[in-house]
């Protein structure tokens, strides 16, 4: 962090000084998450979700490593080894439920983190790189979660793997060879299961690496804040430690209470019962659905039902990947110089419409592929693309933003003055 008033590291203990002289790791920590990182003083609780995402990743890595000590990635025994974890391994049931629900909670906090960024314009200059790296993390998470869901080798695992790798088969000419290459066979089998396990173990560490880049890129301009205006001086900031370590600690406590409530009282609420049936290549479950966190994208995939130049199937695949690729261009689609949605009356309305639209897409993605869900997903998918490609560029040009406060401090004092009055 390059603010001139940032505290400079002065080791108190001689041992710390000795280490810092030889390897400036204490300095790095101090400047990254310690008292040496000045942060806007007005962050609200939506700024907790970055730290919560990191905590969720840590939970996944720890529970995942111990589960891998008992799991066997072989088509013949994989399903049984998961049951073995549930019934025979000491505390195995808890560790597996912690891992399965941990994935859901990871996505919950990441989605909130993303929508926080969307509302407060956190993707805008000078933080474009933070946003882009975040999207890379999101894509890696999706790949990791998908492969993890295959490992229990239940019906949904098997058919999910088949449908998702089938997406690559939609690519003209090279599609089928790519699909066979990904699976190591003509249908999901041992070869696929083993490679998915290998990659499922690897990718979280890649995610951890990209998170370091994400935080590094964030620390160049420093954190954004709910007003979206730049920090003007030391009066606008407080040191990360102890102010935000405490605030994040409180948020973490709330998060863990909710997580444990689900983990201990409704551990299967977010899973699909069909995945407790062993994989059977000869019988398709009546209604294949991915995990809930993929539903909006699944709805977009299924929204295309008519051929138009290209086959409908290919359009679905293009649209599904396009819905994420699109987000990489967001910093250049939204041209408004005002970051925070709080000062953008028109943008704010469309933001909430987008939230509702994504929820509708999610609902349709989890429903069977019948009317009216198909038609609703078509409209909702069209609106999703229209929001980013048409509405946002137009709104950012036409709208007249509300007057911005002169400084973060002024905004904070004004708010407190109003509250007192």
């Amino acid at each position: 962090m390059s603010f001139p008033w940032a505290n400079h590291y002065a080791p108190k203990h001689p041992l710390m000084k000795w280490i810092d002289d030889r390897l400036p790791l204490p300095r790095l920590v101090y400047n990254a998450v310690g008292a040496g990182y000045p942060v806007p003083r007005n962050l609200n609780y939506f700024w907790n979700f970055g730290v919560l995402s990191g905590a969720a990743l840590a939970i996944q890595i720890v529970t995942g490593i111990v589960l891998a000590m008992h799991y066997a990635a072989n088509g013949l025994v994989a399903f049984d080894s998961v049951e073995h974890i549930m019934r025979d391994v000491n505390s195995g049931w808890m560790l597996r439920y912690a891992h399965a629900n941990g994935a859901s909670f990871f996505f919950i906090v990441v989605y909130l983190h993303i929508f926080r960024g969307l509302f407060y314009g956190s993707y805008k200059a000078p933080r474009e790189m933070v946003w882009l790296l975040g999207l890379v993390i999101f894509l890696l998470m999706m790949a990791t979660a998908f492969m993890g869901y295959v490992l229990p080798w239940g019906q949904m695992s098997f058919w999910g793997a088949k449908v998702i790798t089938g997406l690559f088969g939609a690519i003209p000419v090279v599609g089928t060879p790519i699909q066979t290459w990904l699976l190591g066979g003509f249908a999901p089998d041992n070869a696929a299961l083993n490679r998915f396990f290998s990659l499922h173990y690897l990718l979280p560490f890649v995610i951890a690496g990209v998170i370091i880049l994400h935080i590094w890129a964030l620390h160049i301009p420093g954190s954004s804040n709910p007003t979206g205006i730049d920090v003007k001086g030391p009066q606008d900031t407080v040191p990360f430690h102890p102010y935000y370590t405490a605030k994040d600690g409180f948020g973490l406590g709330v998060f863990l209470i909710l997580y444990c409530a689900v983990l201990f009282f409704a551990p299967n609420a977010m899973g699909h019962p069909d995945n407790y049936i062993a994989a059977n290549p000869l019988s398709t479950p009546a209604h294949i659905v991915p995990e809930w966190y993929f539903w909006p994208f699944y709805a977009i995939l299924r929204a295309f039902t008519v051929d138009f130049i290209l086959p409908a199937k290919l359009w679905g695949v293009i649209a599904m990947f396009g819905s994420i690729i699109l987000l990489f261009f967001l910093p250049w689609l939204d041209k408004s110089p005002v970051r925070s949605g709080n000062y953008r009356p028109a943008f704010k309305k469309f933001f909430w419409l987008l939230v509702i639209d994504v929820l509708i897409l999610g609902y349709c993605g989890g429903s069977p592929a019948e009317e009216p869900y198909v038609m609703i997903s078509q409209l909702a998918a069209a609106y999703y693309f229209a929001h980013f490609l048409i509405i946002l560029p137009i709104v950012s040009r036409m709208e007249r933003p509300l007057p911005l406060p002169n400084s973060i401090t002024e905004a904070v004092l004004e708010k407190h003055g109003n509250a007192a009055a």
């Binding site: 058919w159 088969g169 190591g184 089998d189 290549p281 000869l282 039902t305 199937k313 679905g316 019948e370």
Partner: protein, 188 residues
């Protein structure tokens, strides 16, 4: 070589602007590049189907037990295979359709063997995203065209297993097969 080096001032071009060092750089980097690409090859290729998966097992199916109007599911190359004994009404229904009106135009003749029009043998893999369509098993729904119905995203196939409705782009695939006798067919 040695004389050449002494006459050259480092960092300056030898007339045509190309230094000996440029050539060495280019050659070394290209060589390393080719080496890296060569190493990449086995790393990528290992993911292709292994020999045991590729060992193309062919199967024989006994048709004598399949009555008219019935169908069976069996496994061919680890994927479901549908063998269906069409009724006269189903054949008539399939023939009635004008192939040019179809998404993947084919006639029932083209999808069966000469003189054995009643035996419809197809993969049981939906051409959309690979689910197993319903309709071959006893009591399963056959969809609005009387053939197969894929529950995943609602593709309907007719009595010649041709795609009629829904997102699937192609008809159910007909594998290579040959009749060994009137009641035995070899697939693959």
């Amino acid at each position: 070589m040695a004389t050449l080096e002494t006459t050259e001032t480092p960092g300056e071009g030898a007339g045509d602007g190309v230094r000996r060092r440029d050539f060495i750089n280019l050659a070394a980097v290209s060589f390393a590049g080719v080496g890296a690409a060569t190493v990449l090859l086995p790393l990528i290729n290992q993911m292709n189907p292994s020999a045991d998966v590729l060992a193309l097992a062919s199967i024989e199916v006994d048709l004598s037990a399949i009555k008219e109007g019935q169908a069976i599911k069996t496994i061919f190359r680890k994927q479901p295979l549908f063998v269906r004994h069409l009724t006269a009404a189903e054949i008539a229904a399939a023939d009635k359709v004008d192939p040019s009106s179809l998404r993947d135009p084919q006639t029932l003749e083209q999808r069966t063997v000469d003189g054995k029009k009643q035996w419809l043998i197809t993969m049981g893999v939906c051409t959309h995203l690979g689910c197993v369509p319903l309709g071959a098993g006893e009591g399963e729904i056959k969809g609005e065209f009387g053939g197969y119905f894929c529950p995943c995203h609602g593709s309907s196939y007719d009595t010649a297993a041709r795609i009629r409705k829904g997102p699937a782009p192609k008809n159910l695939e007909v594998p290579k097969y040959a009749f060994k006798s009137d009641t035995v067919v070899q697939v693959g």
